[in-house]
């Protein structure tokens, strides 16, 4: 008889939503949804709570909710929150769940384990079932299909680009700063090229007169005498008529003076002078003193001959060169 009574109590404990421990300690568990009707994909806040009267000497273990329940998906889980006073404590956890199947779906009862701290006796408490309607979007089938909507542009937002603006403004400020700095810096004096005060033909004449006065051929340096003589003439042609005479041989020079009419008229004189000079420079020819004097005289005459053209040389020469 005694054994039968114990079995009966045990059976009642199993069948009852609140066990004896729970009953004795007045432990109350609850599951509550914030709505009983959603559209497919919408989320439901499901609050699981356990209210325990104090002092209890009991430990309440919250249910381990899997990621998926039947027709339901768990999106997030909050941490277990504790509230209450000296008389009772409320433990709660909020689950965010959703469903992608339309219909009326029950959320199964959750089991809370209640463990007695002294002795380790365990009991369970179950929440009541919940039913939530998951409805689909109403489609008006009488209307025609609509095309897919175009991609929507996101509105311009300053904060998306603030960094670029900041860099651009910084660069502009630095640029302005450098500009102001260099502008205010005292400028170095530009050294203007020294423009020769005398015309090329005057310089050539002066140098020829100077060479004549030096009479270096009298000291036996005939080669040096003719080298300087021809160098003066070549430099004069280069400056006055833009003929690269210093880089040309005697024959090339005679060819290149052809377009310069005024110089070409003195060609024979120039040829004989260059020939004697070449012989003196490259064949150790020692012309007579009269020939030395004649050479410098010829050079002076060539420069003098071109003197009238010298003043208006640039235009004259260009025009003459253009002629075929």
């Amino acid at each position: 008889m005694g054994k039968q009574i114990i079995f009966l109590f045990a059976l009642l404990g199993l069948l009852s939503p609140l066990s004896s421990l729970a009953q004795q300690s007045r432990v109350e568990v609850n599951a509550k949804a914030d709505t009983d009707k959603i559209r497919i994909g919408e989320q439901v806040k499901l609050r699981l709570s356990a209210t325990v009267e104090q002092p209890t000497g009991l430990t309440v273990v919250f249910p381990q909710v899997p990621d998926s329940l039947s027709h339901w998906e768990v999106v997030t889980r909050s941490k277990i929150d504790t509230a209450g006073d000296n008389n009772k404590k409320i433990f709660s956890q909020t689950l965010t769940i959703t469903s992608f199947d339309s219909g009326h779906w029950d959320i199964p009862a959750f089991r809370f384990d209640v463990v007695q701290n002294a002795g380790g006796a365990t009991d369970s408490a179950f929440t009541g079932p919940l039913g939530i309607d998951v409805g689909t979007i109403t489609v008006d089938t009488t209307k025609a299909f609509k095309p897919i909507k175009a991609v929507r542009t996101v509105g311009w937002n300053f904060w998306d680009y603030w960094l670029y603006f900041a860099i651009g403004i910084t660069v502009i400020i630095i640029g302005i700063g450098l500009f102001v700095y260099f502008r205010s810096k005292p400028k170095k004096e530009v050294v203007k090229p020294v423009v020769p005060l005398i015309a090329p033909y005057e310089a050539a004449l002066q140098q020829l007169q100077h060479l004549r006065g030096e009479k270096i051929w009298q000291q036996g340096d005939v080669k040096q005498y003719y080298t300087r003589l021809t160098d003066i003439l070549r430099a004069y042609f280069e400056q006055q008529f833009n003929i690269p005479a210093l880089e040309q041989t005697s024959e090339e020079l005679l060819q290149h003076i052809k377009p310069v009419t005024i110089l070409n008229q003195q060609r024979d004189k120039l040829r004989s002078l260059l020939t004697v000079a070449d012989l003196a420079k490259f064949a150790k020819l020692h012309p007579s003193p009269d020939e030395h004097e004649a050479a410098i005289q010829q050079a002076i005459e060539i420069v003098e001959w071109t003197k009238p053209a010298a003043a208006k040389a640039p235009e004259t020469v260009k025009e003459e060169i253009k002629q075929p």
Partner: protein, 333 residues
């Protein structure tokens, strides 16, 4: 011993007389060669300066005819070797063959034993044959078996390169090209010259024959005189300036040429430029060298001695362009 003014005047007269054969030669050669005066002049420079000539030009420009006629006019022995990919060194220099009657090996001399050699399309033969020929050119002697044979004097090699067909050719290495004193690029004759060539070739009665006007010994004498042609220090320095400008163009205010030149002229370039200028002065019947002589021969002596970079090739810059820039920048004494 330093030359005096009188020495040079005497030398000038001597050379004026001795070089008279140049006009005779030109006159004789003009019987069969129309135009190509430039090429003939360079052949004579090579002959007088004891240097070999590399000719570049398309086929049919009278290269063979020129050298053959020149050898006839000098009464010298001429030989032509057509270079092919299967040519062997023995085909050029000769070999030892077994004589059954005498029961011994005897030397069979190759075609190189002549005064004038036309090495036609030298870049078609493999490097082994090229080097055999170039060694003979340098040493002027040939060794077959245990015997060394001195080559005939005068000895002039005229090698040709075909610039059109490059397939199946063995390009001459720079070091070997440097052994040629002159590289002459010949072009087509003028319209008038070509008209003359047609008439000359189609006329059956035109059987002009080249007669010997001088002997090889005269050439050897002339060579001695060429070496005596007076070259002033100013000209020597001018030559050095040109050659150094190919090596260090930046020293001559030609920085823009620096990236275009991979290597400049060697000391052999300076020697050959000086020697060729002397030969040119001799041909102009002068006993002294003037800057014109150097400039006239400069392109032929230097064009194969200035290496171009990839950059220059990409920009279609030739060695002639570079040399022109240099000649326009270096001051003439």
């Amino acid at each position: 011993m330093e030359n005096t003014s009188t020495d040079i005047r005497q030398l000038n007269e001597k050379i004026h007389q001795a070089s008279a054969f140049v006009d005779l030669l030109n006159l004789e050669l003009s019987k069969v060669i129309v135009g190509q005066r430039y090429m003939v002049d360079r052949l004579l420079i090579g002959l007088l300066a004891q240097g070999h000539v590399l000719l570049e030009g398309v086929p049919g420009l009278a290269k063979t005819l020129s050298i053959k006629s020149l050898s006839s006019a000098i009464n010298a022995k001429f030989s032509r070797i057509q270079f092919t990919p299967d040519l062997l060194p023995a085909d050029v220099v000769g070999t030892m063959i077994y004589n059954q009657q005498k029961n011994e090996f005897v030397v069979r001399r190759g075609p190189i034993f002549a005064n004038f050699i036309l090495a036609d399309e030298i870049n078609r033969a493999p490097a082994k044959v090229q080097s055999a020929l170039l060694e003979a050119m340098q040493e002027r002697q040939i060794t077959i078996g245990d015997t060394t044979f001195k080559l005939d004097d005068p000895f002039l090699v005229l090698a040709t390169q075909n610039p059109i067909e490059q397939e199946g050719t063995y390009t001459l290495p720079e070091a070997q090209v440097d052994r040629f004193m002159l590289k002459v690029v010949i072009g087509y004759p003028t319209k008038e010259e070509e008209l003359h060539i047609i008439r000359q070739n189609l006329n059956p009665q035109n059987t002009a024959k080249i007669n010997p006007v001088i002997q090889p010994a005269d050439i050897l004498e002339a060579r001695k005189l060429v070496r005596e042609v007076y070259m002033d220090e100013k000209i020597e320095r001018y030559i050095l300036d040109i050659v150094f400008a190919t090596r260090n163009p930046e020293d001559y205010k030609l920085q823009k040429l620096k990236p275009l030149i991979s290597y400049g002229g060697s000391p052999r370039a300076s020697i050959n430029l000086a020697l060729a200028a002397k030969a040119y002065a001799f041909m102009k019947r002068r006993g002294y060298v003037i800057p014109e002589d150097v400039r006239s021969i400069c392109f032929d002596v230097m064009r194969h001695r200035v290496g171009l970079t990839y950059e220059a090739e990409a920009e279609n810059v030739t060695s002639e362009n570079i040399l022109s820039e240099i000649l326009n920048a270096v001051e003439v004494p």
